[in-house]
């Protein structure tokens, strides 16, 4: 019995140890679920885009609804200029969503419950958005830190705050997803443990909690993927349409 609620987050090697130089890049259970999620996305969307009938079948409808959902999300938050980044945001949303959802299946591994994974994604977004901002606006992008309509006396303080909030974006973005996933899965594990330890008589209460938590966690899994994607869109919006 995996009694420790944290053991579910342990990464272990599957197959042989692979090393490039001093770096260990062995195939692990995390890698396995990354691959499974990506493959599932590719299979579903490939099936969904294969045939084009006027009246779409279920899988085609799924693919097209997801497409228009993400498309609408991007155009609502970042405008029409964000069109070239559609594929990236779509892939990101789908990847995070599928990793979260695969984590909801018992005995699976949740890729996004690892800070390193979310941090790499978030810092990639952060660096990418910053680069796009500087390419589009040059040094004018620094005006992002100077909001208009602020009294001059407050300006130094505001600029410092803005810079800090800008630099903390990758951290907040990554920690939000990671913490949500970890906390949810830990809670479920703890309540699962209570079910076992309270036995057939007292276990019903934590079991019902567990059931409710499962529903909540599925919601959270979707919501966090959505939040991750929409925050990416908002950051992209800052870089593309400099409003300050």
């Amino acid at each position: 019995m995996a009694a420790n609620p944290m053991t579910q987050f342990e990464v272990y090697r599957i197959g042989p140890e692979i090393k490039i130089g001093t770096f260990d890049i062995s195939f692990t259970n995390a890698s396995l679920f990354m691959a499974i999620s990506s493959l599932a996305i590719l299979i579903i969307f490939n099936l969904g885009s294969k045939k084009n009938s006027i009246l779409p079948n279920k899988i085609q409808l799924l693919a097209e609804l997801s497409y228009s959902f993400v498309s609408k999300m991007i155009s609502d938050t970042a405008g029409s200029k964000a069109k070239p980044y559609f594929s990236f945001i779509f892939s990101l949303f789908m990847f995070v969503l599928f990793c979260n959802m695969f984590g909801m299946i018992p005995y699976t591994f949740t890729v996004t419950s690892h800070i390193i994974v979310t941090f790499v994604l978030a810092s990639f977004i952060f660096i990418g958005v910053t680069v796009i901002g500087f390419i589009k606006h040059g040094f004018g992008y620094l005006k992002l830190f100077v909001p208009s309509g602020v009294p001059v006396i407050l300006l130094p303080l505001i600029v410092v705050i803005e810079i800090i909030s800008y630099l903390s974006r990758p951290i907040s973005l990554s920690v939000r997803l990671f913490a949500n996933m970890m906390a949810g899965h830990t809670m479920m594990k703890v309540f699962g443990g209570f079910v076992i330890s309270l036995g057939i008589v007292g276990g019903w209460l934590p079991l019902s909690f567990s059931v409710a938590l499962t529903g909540l966690e599925i919601l959270v899994a979707f919501l966090q993927a959505y939040v991750f994607a929409i925050l990416t869109c908002i950051y992209l919006n800052d870089a593309l349409n400099l409003h300050h």
């Binding site: 995390a30 990506s38 885009s49 789908m94 990847f95 390193i116 076992i196 330890s197 008589v201």
Partner: protein
Amino acid sequence: MIKKIFFQSIFFNFFFFKEVFAAESGGMPQLNPEFWISQIFWLTLTFGILYIVLSKLILPKISANLELRKSQIQDNIEAAEKQRKDSESKLKEYDDIIFKSKLEAKNIFKDSREKVIKDINNKKETLENQINEEIKKAEKEIEVVKKSAPEKINKIAIEASSELVKKLIGAEINNSSISAIVDDLSKKNGDKYYGN
């Protein structure tokens, strides 16, 4: 009995809890950097492949499908609109034709009626003319007869009176003297008999 088991289970929970959390070795596996490089590598690889395949192969297809469907639906709507307009114009044409033909029928009816009336009038007129002529002719004849009537009467009167005289007195009387008397009488009483 059930109560006893319930309390027992709650009581013994503490032992179980100890067992449950016994394996805790402290800290989160997330913060163990042993597999960080591996995770970064595999994340980059899988997400990179996912991004490339989605953006190059799958998303353009879905986009094209959506566009195609949109344009097809648009086309269908346009075609339906066009057909609707066509049918409307055809209906209008049909109505026009019906209206025109009704008008024509009315005209034809009117014309023929007028013609018939005219014909009847013409015929009536000619008939009246004829009748008038006939009447005039008859009147003329009557006039002629009227005019010639006193002379004939006089003649007859002369002859009759001469015959009467012959029979009565057996003597021949000169016709001229009788005619003078008759003429005188007829001049006196002619108006009485003939109304002229």
